[in-house]
Amino acid sequence: MNLKFEITHDAKGDQGIEKERYKPKAYPPLAAVFWSFAKIGAFMLGGGYAMVPLIRGELVSGRAWLSEDEFAEILGLAQTAPGAIAVNTAVLAGFRLRRLAGALTGCLGVILAPFFIILAIAATFARLDRLPLFKAVFSYVRPAVVGLIVAAALSMARSLLRSWLHLTVAGGLFLAAVALNPHPAVLIALAALCGYLLRRVLPATGGGREDEP
């Protein structure tokens, strides 16, 4: 993982506790953050997980502002908070890039286009959903969104599942998610707890990655 750690020793604590500050790998201008999230908001058709490939395409594979690991963490955290997941993701990713200003910018960017589009529709009483043209458009957009989510799942699995252990655990969680249909926040919280306990019981043995049990 190509993350930079800035290690500073706490002068007051004589136990030598290392206080590591987790720094973002990119520091993009706020205008660029805003533009990225405005595009995501404008193209976010289909609801729910449809935004995952769009945000990933913009922030991970497009701009390379976030690593694949960071993006997955942000998505996971976004689902443990209430509210629209796209807004939560924009706030978390914005914060990761530019702290408070980035969070506000990301949030504003992602709701900008939807807000004005709905305002225009509400003001003109345009019934887009009843127009045959829009039905035809959506008959192509809907399966395309499925393809985008499948492609995102494949890319993320490829870069995040780096060993047989990862593959087995993620495969088990996948089967549990499909069969039991648990609330996403529950699955995430349980997996995070297991990761935490694993790390507690089996502290870093020295050989593996810094970031994994």
Binding site: G76, V137, A192
Partner: protein
């Protein structure tokens, strides 16, 4: 002012209590908008949800904007939208602040590891779930397959894929098939 405040607080409640995003928020919105405040009738509400589905953006935010406009014009739309977004902003900011402050601790690293695996599993299961509901014909399956090939093979930007799919739908309608 009274109406704007009640729009703001009603949608703030929705934003703060609806966990899971997307369609899981609809029943709560329905209860607040129809049962408690009688801002819309049931048929109107169903229309709003249908429109929110077909326009870009999170469904909860779109519904808030629409209902706000119906009740009190554009100031109402702004009040309701701010209300539904505010809890996300506050809670996600707190989460981000705590997570990145302690991200380097071994325990938090372990938790982040578990979280990442769960996210991969959830997105894969979402692909299965939306596939089941959206791939109804051979043409749907062909479009989805072409998109996967396009993204994996040529590395096309997902935003461009959405635009192309919309264009293909419009062209197919205009050509009459």
């Amino acid at each position: 002012m009274g109406v704007l405040w009640s729009l703001f607080t009603a949608f703030f409640t929705i934003g703060a209590l609806a966990f899971g995003g997307g369609y899981t928020m609809i029943p709560l919105i329905e209860r607040v908008v129809i049962t408690r405040h009688a801002w819309l009738t049931m048929p109107q509400f169903l229309d709003v949800v249908a429109i929110a589905e077909m326009t870009p953006g999170p469904i909860a935010v779109n519904t808030a904007t629409f209902v706000g406009y119906q009740v009190a014009g554009w100031p109402g739309a702004a009040a309701a939208t701010m209300g539904v977004v505010m809890p996300s902003l506050i809670i996600a900011l707190l989460l981000a602040g705590v997570f990145y402050r302690y991200r380097a601790l071994p325990g938090v690293q372990g938790a982040a590891f578990g979280l990442r695996l769960a996210v991969v599993a959830l997105i894969a299961s979402a692909a299965v779930a939306v596939g089941r509901s959206a791939l109804l014909t051979w043409r749907d399956a062909a479009v989805a397959g072409a998109v996967v090939a396009l993204i994996r093979g040529v590395k096309v930007h997902p935003l461009l894929v959405v635009a192309l799919a919309a264009l293909a739908g419009a062209v197919s309608y205009l050509l009459g098939f």
